[in-house]
C-alpha cells in the first residue's frame, strides 16, 4: 500500500514516514504544494496525507486539482488549522478526513487504515478467510492460529492483493503500489515476493492469471 505525504515540515514528515513504513507502507514525501500536486496526480496512491499550509501552493488548491483530475485516493488533511470553518472548507474541497496538529501518531495511523479500508470496501479491519487471517492494522498474518512472519514488502504485496481481491492485479500495478517514486522499479522482484508469499502461506493463496497478473484466493 502506497501513501503520499505532503508536508513541508521535514522533521514531522520524517516521523510520519517512519510510522507508516513501520506498518509496511511505501511512502513518498512531497515538501511543497506543487510537488505534491504533481505526484498525487501522476502516481497511483492508496491514501494521501495532506498539510494545508504549504509553500508554493495551498493544500486546499492542491486537493481541488487532484479531484478535478479524477484522483480517487482517500485524502486525510493533517493541519494546524483547527477551526471548523477550515474543516468544512477542506472536506468540501474533497478530503475524506481531517486531523489537527498536534496529533497522536497512533490516531493518524488508525484513521489512515480506516480510510484505506473504506475506499476498498473492507468493513472489517481484520480480514479472515478460512484458516487465514490478515490484520490490516498491524500487518500481522496468522495461518491456523500460528503467526507467519513476513517482510514489509511481502506484507505490502499481500495487503494490496487482499484489498483488491475481487479483481486481477497486474504486475505493473502491484509494483507501482509496492515501490516508492524514487525507487528503481523491477517487476521481476514482484515475482520473487509472490513466490515467497506462496512458500509461507501455501501455493493456493495467490493465483497467477497468465498475461494479466495475480489475484488473491485464500480458499
Amino acid at each position: 500500500m502506497r501513501v503520499l505525504l505532503v508536508e513541508d515540515e521535514l522533521a514531522l514528515a520524517g516521523q510520519v514516514q517512519r510510522a507508516l513504513e513501520n506498518e509496511g507502507r511505501v511512502v513518498d514525501v512531497a515538501a511543497d504544494g506543487e510537488e505534491g500536486s504533481f505526484l498525487g496526480s501522476n502516481e497511483p496512491y492508496d491514501a494521501i496525507v495532506l498539510d494545508l499550509g504549504l509553500p508554493k501552493k495551498d493544500g486546499n488548491a492542491v486537493l481541488r486539482d487532484w479531484r478535478d483530475a479524477g484522483v480517487k485516493a482517500p485524502v486525510l488533511i493533517l493541519t494546524a488549522r483547527d477551526s471548523w470553518r477550515d474543516k468544512v472548507a477542506g472536506l468540501d474541497a474533497g478530503a475524506d478526513d481531517y486531523l489537527t496538529k498536534p496529533f497522536q501518531m497512533d490516531e493518524l495511523m488508525a484513521r489512515l487504515r480506516a480510510l484505506m479500508r473504506r475506499s476498498t470496501n473492507q468493513p472489517n479491519p481484520v480480514f479472515k478467510q478460512g484458516a487465514f487471517e490478515f490484520d490490516t492494522r498491524s500487518g500481522r498474518v496468522t495461518l491456523d492460529g500460528q503467526q507467519v512472519m513476513l517482510t514489509a514488502q511481502e506484507t505490502n504485496v499481500l495487503g494490496y492483493l487482499i484489498a483488491h481481491k475481487d479483481r486481477v492485479v497486474s504486475r505493473t500495478e502491484l509494483s507501482e503500489h509496492v515501490y516508492g517514486y524514487d525507487t528503481e522499479r523491477d517487476s521481476n522482484t514482484i515475482e520473487v515476493f509472490i513466490g515467497r508469499l506462496r512458500k509461507k502461506l501455501g501455493q493456493k493463496i495467490i493465483v497467477t492469471i497468465r498475461g494479466r497478473g495475480y489475484q488473491f484466493d485464500g480458499s
Binding site: Q15, A19, T79, D82, W84, K87, V88, L91, D97, P102
Partner: protein, 449 residues
Amino acid sequence: MGALSLRARALLGGVVWIVIALGLSGWLLLQTFDEIAERAFSRNLSAQLDQLESLILTGAISASPEETRLADPRYTRPGSGYYWQVERPDGSVVRSPSLGEELLPLRAIISGEEVLQARAPEGFLIQVHVRPVQDPRNGAIWRVYAAEAVVRLQRDKLEFRRSLFGLLIGLGGALALSAAAMTGMALRPLVALRAAFAEYRHGETERVEGRYPPDIEPLVADLNALLERNARIIGTARRQAADLAHALKTPAAILRNEIDAMDPPDPDMRDALERINALLARYTARARLAGANAPGASAEIRPLLEGLGRVMERVHAERGVAFELVAPAGLRGRIEAEDLEELAGNLIDNAFKWARSRVRAEARRADGELVLTVEDDGPGVPEDDRERVLRAGTRLDEAVPGSGLGLAICSDIAEAYEGRLELGRSRLGGLSVTVSLPLARSEARDRAA
C-alpha cells in the same frame, strides 16, 4: 454647562434671549405709553381750558356765570374728580358744580399755562392746569383752572401695564414653544444617528448608515473610519492568532511524536507538552473569539450546520452515527459566522464522539432568541458533573489535558455573545446541550411585524 444636553442648552439659550428681548421691548412700550397717556391727560385739561377761554372771550361767563357749563357732563357731578374754575379780574370765582363750595388753589402771578399738583376737596391728588386769559374788552386778566384726578391717569397706566404683561407672557410662551420645536427639528439628525449606531451595534449593518447634514457628516465619516479600523485590527489579530497556532502546533506535533517514540515515553515531558497543547488550544480559541467585540455581524445557522454535518459524517465515519438536522432556512443569529460555526462544531463533534448511534441538532426561534439544541444517545453527563464540565479550563492554568468536552469553549463563546448554554438529559438518552443566542435584529423585527 459641561453635562448639559444640547437640547437643554439650545432651550436655555432661547429662553434667556426671549426673556431679555421681551423685557426690553416691554419696558420701551411702557415708557412710550406712559408718555402718551400723560400727554393725552394734559391735552384733555388744556382742551377744557380752551373751552373756558372761549367762554370768557365770548363774554358768556360775564353774562350768566351761574349757567356756565362745559360740554363734559362729568364736571357737573360732585366728587367725579373733574373740576374747573374761573377767577375773574375782580377776584370772584366761578366754578364747576363738581367743586361745590370748595376752591381749587389759586395762583396769583403766572406767565403762561402752568401745571401743578393739588388735593381735591375730597382729598385725592389732582393735577391742575392754570392759564391767564386777557379780556379783549378791557384788557383785564382772568385766570382759568381745569383739574382732573391723577388716579385716572394711573388707572390707565395700570390697565395698559396689565394687558401688556399678559401679551408679553403669551408671546414669550409661544416663542419658547417654537424654540423647543426648532431645537427638536435641529437635533433630529442626532436621533437618527443614534438609531443608525444602534443598528450597527446590534449587528444589522457593518457601518453607520444614512445621510446626515454637513455639520455632523464629518463626524459620522470619522466614526465609520474608526469602526473600519477596529474591524481591520480584529481581523489582523485573528489572522495572527491563527498564524501563531500554525507556527506552534507543528513543532508541538514533532515533539509529541518524539516523546511517544521514546521507550518508555517520559511521563513528565509528555505532561508538560500536553499542558502546552491545552494552553495553545485554549488561547487560539479565545483569540478567535475577538469577533464578539466586533459587532456588525449576523449569521444564518442552517448552511453552517449543513457544512458541519458533512464534516462529521466523514470525520466520524467509522462510528456509523446517524445525524439528523432540523433548522429553518433564513434563521439568523446575532453572532459572527465563524464563532457560531465554532460553537456548533464543537457541540456536534462532541455529540458524535459520545453517541451510540444518533446525533440530533435542532435550531429554532423561541422567545425572541435563536435556540440551538444538540443531543446524542450516548452516556450523557450526570447532573452533579455538569457544572464542572462547563467550568473546566475556564482558567488557563487549570487547563488539563483532554479536560472537558470542548464545552468550556462553547460556553465562552455563548457568554461572549450574551447567550446561555445549558446541559440536560436528552430524549435520545444522552447529553443535550441547549444554547440560546440573540436573534439577528432583522429576525427580531420580522417576528414583531
